[in-house]
Symmetry: C2
């Protein structure tokens, strides 16, 4: 087992990474201060992992909320089911919410913990690769609004995160690949050597080799934790974690949440960002090609959905959270392994990159 | 004009108290960092104060959300209208929300600011006495849930608060009295001299004498600010601000939100707490009588609604937020001007105090 500490002063917390950790009472119980817990999970994961987890928590009052599975349920109505359950079972301020699931369960449970009685404890047990390398570090919680993804939420840190690589055995291939998109992102924005390691080890990761997964998760979380520690509330440098995300969110919104997985949209978005970085003179064509090639090996899309027009991208990107005072800011690559936030990108370069990556005229 | 600073480190903010401050651009503009603001108000206040405020904010993009008036609208559906408006008008992360109204508008606007894009700036312009002395200090924001008041929310501080005593001219008598309940509370929990000042000056306050109001608001905010600075997230001492509130919330919940005003319920609750303090041997009968007499002069209830039974109180108080690990904690008075939180109160004493104050058997 690897342990990594996310360093945020009095909100610091550990991430435990390894195989078969999910129901280890000795990892969980030290992070629970009250006598009540509420496990929030979904209909896909409950049959797989709920019972061992409940056994581990046997000394406590453990209530369970089972949500419908999927990004389309990341809304207020579903969130409110958590509040209903907590109030019906009279959970008090010293309760602990436990998120057992992927990013959607984690984001909603974290936001519920941030808001319930103005803030209670929570623990994340991410069961998808995406959640293990992304949602479980950084404290971003929230829900979607019909007019935009993740528009309502809070920065709220868990007491601990347990990333169980054995849980990835049950993950559909598509979701494994979606998680690998974020793993590749960490190499691109901050660690050229890790990018090279991924080129060498992508086959092992796709075969769900436990040691390779533990290494990739640990290195990804370490990179993200370093960036988040420097900028907890996303005032500056943290924005580099959004490489590919402004384009990706436009794809997700245009197609409707869930049509493409988040990681798939980010993969195509990173290709757009890479192409735009080449147009700015920062990457060469061979590097852009290496990026697309690695994403393809990871079975990820590298082009826009064909039905999306350039105009639709530009319109959707204008409402994205990353727009500050009306000016479009994008995360680009200065080099393979080094990201920067750029506000002064020629409009024509954005249009050309979108066209080059398959957006319709 | 009086200026008071609420000292919370990098979340410190000023409270400006005085007559005719509401639409002073020179007070507001230094606290707005972006080019967008969204004024949230209600149908009662908009006709009175919206236009002068909009004129003061003329250089900015100023959108307006007008909510229905009343505690029964302090729910998710109404909150969501703020998010709808912000997204429709494309407000970005540097927007500022401005709450123009009483506690309900302030609580909802503050919570919307805490959640919109995971946190944007906000300013409070409280227009009721209750909001000026209570909701505008302490950072408590939130909405109600059908199973409990203020159960969903956040601790979130404003950039500044402007308490305009001239705005109290339009306040209904009942609401002025409800605000005075909280003012009296500050004397009871922390300042015996202020309690005596209130006995002397209650007539002036009821006549809305501006100088008396500025003094009472400033002293109330100072007491609350001192308590909040010592305990921002309500881990301990801050609980004394809840004198009368556990009983009061039970009354509000039992009668349905809005049947009694919050301050009216708190007034009756403070009489229950005072009677219980006498049973603990901390107050004498004359002091309990002084408290009831001052509340009566302020035209506030001092007894339970007759239809509420002792059992109903006990049941409702068990789900109140102030219950930690199942143990009922109540704020009582050790002396006139000094509060304490007590966890070891004999059950029979609580029952007797409720009965004595008019609860049904």
């Amino acid at each position: 087992m690897q342990t990594l500490t996310v360093d945020l002063g009095d909100r610091s917390y550990p991430i435990y990474i390894g195989a078969d950790l999910l129901a280890k009472a000795e990892l969980l119980l030290p992070h629970i201060r009250g006598r009540q817990v509420c496990i929030v999970t979904n209909t896909t994961l409950a049959p797989l992992y709920l019972e061992p987890l409940r056994r581990a928590l046997a000394p406590l009052q453990a209530d369970v909320v089972t949500l419908p599975d999927g990004e389309q349920h990341k809304d207020w109505q579903t969130l409110n089911r958590i509040f209903d359950a907590l109030l019906q079972a009279r959970h008090n301020r010293s309760t602990t919410l436990i998120a057992l699931g992927g990013g959607v369960v984690g984001d909603m449970t974290g936001f519920a913990a941030a808001c319930y009685q103005r803030g209670v404890d929570f623990i994340q047990l991410p069961t998808t690769l995406l959640a293990q390398v992304d949602s479980s570090v950084g404290g971003k919680t929230g829900i979607n609004h019909p007019l935009g993804k993740n528009m309502i939420g809070a920065f709220y840190q868990p007491n601990c995160v347990v990333a169980d690589t054995a849980a990835l055995a049950s993950l559909p291939d598509k979701e494994l690949s979606a998680g690998l998109a974020e793993v590749i992102k960490y190499g691109l924005i901050a660690d050229r050597d890790f990018f090279s390691w991924l080129e060498t080890n992508m086959a092992a990761l796709l075969q769900r080799d436990q040691a390779a997964l533990v290494y990739a998760i640990e290195r990804s979380c370490r990179i993200k934790a370093g960036v988040v520690a420097a900028d907890e509330r996303e005032g500056g440098i943290r924005a580099i974690l959004n490489l590919g995300h402004t384009f990706g969110h436009a794809i997700e919104t245009a197609l409707g949440y869930g049509a493409w997985l988040h990681g798939e949209a980010v993969a195509a978005g990173m290709c757009m960002a890479a192409d735009l970085s080449r147009r700015m003179g920062w990457l060469d064509a061979a590097e852009v090609q290496r990026i697309a090639a690695l994403l393809q090996v990871a079975r990820l899309p590298t082009r826009s959905p064909p039905q999306l027009t350039v105009q639709r991208y530009l319109s959707l990107m204008a409402v994205d959270k990353k727009v500050l005072d009306g000016q479009l800011r994008l995360v680009l690559l200065e080099a393979l392994g080094r990201a920067r936030v750029s506000a002064d990108i020629p409009h024509e370069a954005v249009v050309s990159a979108l066209r080059h990556c398959g957006a319709a005229a």
